[in-house]
Amino acid sequence: MGEIKFMKGNEALAESAIRSGLQGYFGYPITPQSEVIEYLSMEEPKHHYVVLQAESEVASVNMVYGAAAAGARAMTTTSSPGFSLMQEGISYIACAELPCVFANIVRGGPGLGTIQPSQGDYFQAVKGGGHGDYHLIVLAPNSVQEMVDHCSLAFDLADKYRIPAMLLSDGAIGQMMEKVVLPDPVPYKPDKPWATTGKTPDRPRNIITSLYIQSEDMEQKNKRLQEKYKLIKENEVRFEEYKIDDAEIILTSFGLSSRICKKVVDLGREKGIKLGLLRPITLWPFPSCKIAELAAQNRVKFFLSMEMNAGQMVEDVQLSVNGKKPVYFFGRAGGIIPTPDEVLHHIEGYLK
């Protein structure tokens, strides 16, 4: 029942992918996530998957398209500049409704930026970095264990809804080592009658495309996608609450910064400030209903979103709160990890 190991986040992600029945991994080296392809390359002879170093992220995302459309469990991982390069392919994958998994081990940007951890790619992941109306399921792990858990969850959700799913992680979680419990490998049996595997006499040919040249057809496609997104919003919202039952000030934070916020909550409560944390685990679908519910409660004075960026998820918190309570923001950008003390000091500023 599981194997306990001490592992680096990126390697744990790779190991989880193998145990989830990975069949094709296509990637391109970029700091701080190159350990994923390195680990998979080292382990390849022991397993039945294919790992291929592509000539670019543009190629690797399109290889994921090809593999997923051929019915395989396919994946790529990258870091911020590489994820920008993949956006074209992701838009096509979203329209073609191909189940596959991405992980963005985010580093500070914009531009070439820094290789230090950041949460600056929230908008890109959640709002759709490519063209057109689409969403990915976005999971935000905050530990090495969740790199493992969310990877297998992402594969399952992707297959369940025929949608690309992604992990929005960061350079710190990718690089740090923690204890993990690895699940037993799952035998993966694909049931994908839509896949392009060669037209047999018993079915019409399968076509995987994102092209619907007639406006009426394209609108129908969009409607089908939106119906699917609605279903996912109803069924797949995930979040974690920490000391929220009596909290007067609600912190919202995801991924690495949510761990800092837990410490902030504890430090604040030592000083008699009733802090609580709501941590979205799925960034899309976003736990808007839960936040709206908290905003409607009289004891809650205000919200504060703490992020390692210049203020991105805070916009979704504001939309969810919908003017019922003030929503503040604290963040550090460019690869700086904030300390619990500076976050608490900032919160205390609103209490004066």
Partner: protein, 251 residues
Amino acid sequence: MKEGYELVYKRPKTLLDRRMHYCPGCFHSTIHKLFMEVVDEMNIQDKIVGVCPVGCSVFAYDYMDVDMQEAAHGRAAALATAIKRMLPDRYVFSYQGDGDLAAIGTAETIHACNRGENITIIFINNGIYGMTGGQMAPTTLEGQKTTTSPYGRDVAKVGMPLKMAEMVSQLQRVAYVERVSCNNPVNTRKAKRALKRALEIQGKNMGTSFIEVASNCPSGWKCTPVESLNWLNDKVYPYFPLGVFKEPPKE
């Protein structure tokens, strides 16, 4: 079939009976037919997966009765790479134009060929962007007029037309490269032979097979189909010579 009559010619089984969107005189429809004849003859409809490009042949999947994927512009070789890696016992082909394969998709093309992917790349080189209305392609000839080279291709400004067959034949793991055409019955038969040979080589896992078709575009070239054949003879073949550029080693 009437008694006493013999059927000598018919539509291949895997070519769907549909009105094509291709312009009159264009080689796309001919190549579609030839390739589907090959699929029929090899009896591999259930073992072949194709990739369409962005360009005039973006709708190739409307005509070929085989499983197909539609790629983003230029990325067909990346898709084909992954399909073949996931399904190594299937035949995989990409069908691409010159803008797709030799401009925006140059990196994917060169690297798929360099890896020696066991795929067949069918490259329709008509020297122009047909679908978007006749703009200059990487293979537009020197001096050739297009909507974006209205005074003729100025090679001092934009370089020489890319010779893809010659380029990829330099790569060690590419098994077979031939440039063919369809301007007359002899060349059309040679084109079909090359397409079949390409799939047979793929079936033996010998490496990439790359068939370039020196093609035409009466609409984009703003001429009649007959005039387009003359242009091929007078201008295209001298720069893009037909023939085999690379053979697999003798078995």
